[in-house]
Subunit: 116 residues, 2 copies
DNA sequence: CAAAAATGTGCGCGAATCGAAAACATATAT
DNA sequence: ATATATGTTTTCGATTCGCGCACATTTTTG
């Protein structure tokens, strides 16, 4: 269930002990999570996500969320940031237009090439 | 901990019973989640997120995720889609450049205006 | 309006499982 | 080679999960 923990921990070069310490739980408890014979409480799960600076969904290995840009306008689901500054609706709208046009153009290019 | 459940359920106009049925659990079990005196297992939590077509993080009320665009290049965290088509790295890179430049320009504009 | 059905709310219990301590195995460092 | 750190498993008391059941409240139906 929590198979991604191993990767997350090792990419940080932390031992189980160190990870457990940071989470303020016993190493055997943490080990239980990694080995899969224990499940953390929701609070612990949340703490783990915070520690690894990732989402709970990612830790749970849930089918990676795909964020549809057109839907994220005016919705408070996920906020996008660039260089730490959150993306304004205007920037998002510009981007959508920008990319749609680029996609249209690349279609036409292909079409022309085929014709030639 | 799971205070968002009420909203999610009611926005669908489901009774507790109906929700529990869809989740294939007892209504008293589901009620426990909503009232906050019970926590679902990770599997149940995941099922709930699926049922409500939302993320576990959202259900847990975790500080809304912000996705840093520069970090999402080459990372398998969340995939962005536009009009149902997933965003290529190239499109993302272009957008980052595009927006950075726009931001730079708007700074300068302000500067010029101040000078004038 | 009254009866019936559905829904919400809470209790109690057996079963499941949590979290930690401890012991042991294995690896790393001195 | 010995000590120290890390990984892994077992054990156990305490917690709490999930459900059935009962009752209150609301909604539906005739």
């Amino acid at each position: 269930m929590l198979s991604r923990l191993v990767t997350l921990r090792k990419s940080r070069k932390w031992s189980m002990q160190e990870t457990a310490d940071r989470l303020e739980i016993a190493k055997s408890t943490y080990a239980g999570y990694e080995y899969g014979y224990r499940e953390p409480s929701l609070q612990a799960l949340s703490d783990i996500a915070d520690l690894f600076e990732t989402s709970v969904d990612h830790i749970l290995g849930r089918s990676e969320q795909s964020l549809e840009l057109t839907k994220s306008i005016d919705e408070e689901s996920i906020s996008l940031t660039l260089d730490g500054v959150s993306l304004s609706n205007e920037e998002l709208i510009d981007f959508i237009a920008f990319t749609r046009i680029k996609r249209e153009l690349s279609k036409k290019e292909t079409f022309i090439k085929k014709e030639a």
